[in-house]
């Protein structure tokens, strides 16, 4: 506080107070509220689209994995070999699909109003 007192200067203070100005735009608050509302609407719209994207992506991933499993099982009959290229690709693609879904969800949370 003492340090601040060292700079107390009535003359400069009165000058600064005289020079203080106000926003001349009388509709500033209304314009800002409209902008904010527009930004909320935009975010809601993006969130809705993202949520739809996630839903379709999830369905496609599950269907893809199911089909791949069915095809692989038929092809390999009953001799399951974990090092078979199809099994490895299926595993990698499944992990990638789950990760992408997780990222989309995270992105949606970030964007959500």
């Amino acid at each position: 506080m003492e340090e601040s007192n060292e700079f107390q200067d009535g003359y400069v203070k009165s000058l600064i107070l005289q020079g203080a100005s106000k926003i001349s735009n009388e509709t500033f608050e209304d314009e800002m509220m409209l902008k904010i509302q527009a930004s909320i609407d935009h975010k809601k719209e993006v969130t809705a689209k993202l949520s739809l994207d996630i839903r379709y992506f999830r369905i496609a991933t599950i269907m893809g994995i199911t089909m791949a499993v069915i095809l692989l099982t038929k092809r390999m009959s009953f001799s399951v070999n974990l090092l078979y290229p199809g099994v490895i690709s299926l595993f990698v693609l499944s992990v990638a699909g789950i990760m992408i879904m997780g990222n989309l969800k995270r992105f949606m949370r970030l964007y959500k109003y």
């Binding site: 700079f7 400069v12 100005s21 106000k22 509302q37």
Partner: protein
């Protein structure tokens, strides 16, 4: 008071944000004008700062004052705009001396408000900012540091220099180094 309105905004009452607009718009405008030196740009900066504050309200740390947090946004936005303006408008004269202004040569022709406004616009951005924060907003040196990110020693030096320069400009004596 601020906390009450923050809670309302966060609970979905968007209209409650009008309180912050009404309370802080003029001070934010003054801070921004002291940096960008242009009313039109300053108003744009204030708009951007309010948008950022609204978007970031959920992440606002309640241990600090809303005012300081918001002014910091305004200051950062203003310096960002200033850098952009310098790149766009004055690519050659970035570190040139700001020449002394003409309205103060004939103080009898302009009123006191215009004289002071012009003088404040001639002051370097940081000096105008520190004067506004300290004398108009009545922030302590520490609070000025919180808003601007300057050290206490730096704030003192700037405040001292700003007072000296303002007096010099108004007594129509010299040019200022940016």
């Amino acid at each position: 008071m601020d906390d009450h309105y923050i809670d309302r905004v966060l609970s979905g009452d968007v209209e409650a944000f009008r309180y912050f607009l009404t309370t802080y718009k003029d001070m934010a405008f003054n801070l921004s004008v002291s940096i960008v030196k242009d009313d039109h740009y300053a108003e744009e900066v204030v708009q951007d700062a309010f948008m950022k504050a609204f978007d970031g309200l959920a992440s606002f740390n309640r241990t600090a004052k809303f005012k300081s947090w918001f002014y910091r946004i305004v200051v950062n936005e203003s310096f960002q705009r200033l850098r952009k303006m310098k790149r766009q408008i004055h690519p050659i004269t970035m570190d040139s001396k700001v020449e002394y202004l003409e309205p103060l040569d004939q103080p009898q022709n302009s009123n006191e408000y215009d004289r002071v406004r012009t003088a404040l616009k001639v002051l370097p951005a940081k000096e105008g900012l520190v004067l506004n924060l300290f004398y108009l907003e009545e922030h302590s040196l520490k609070e000025v540091g919180d808003v601007t990110g300057w050290t206490l020693a730096n704030t003192k030096v700037l405040l001292h220099r700003a007072r000296k320069n303002l007096r010099s400009i108004l007594s129509n004596k010299k040019t200022i180094k940016d």
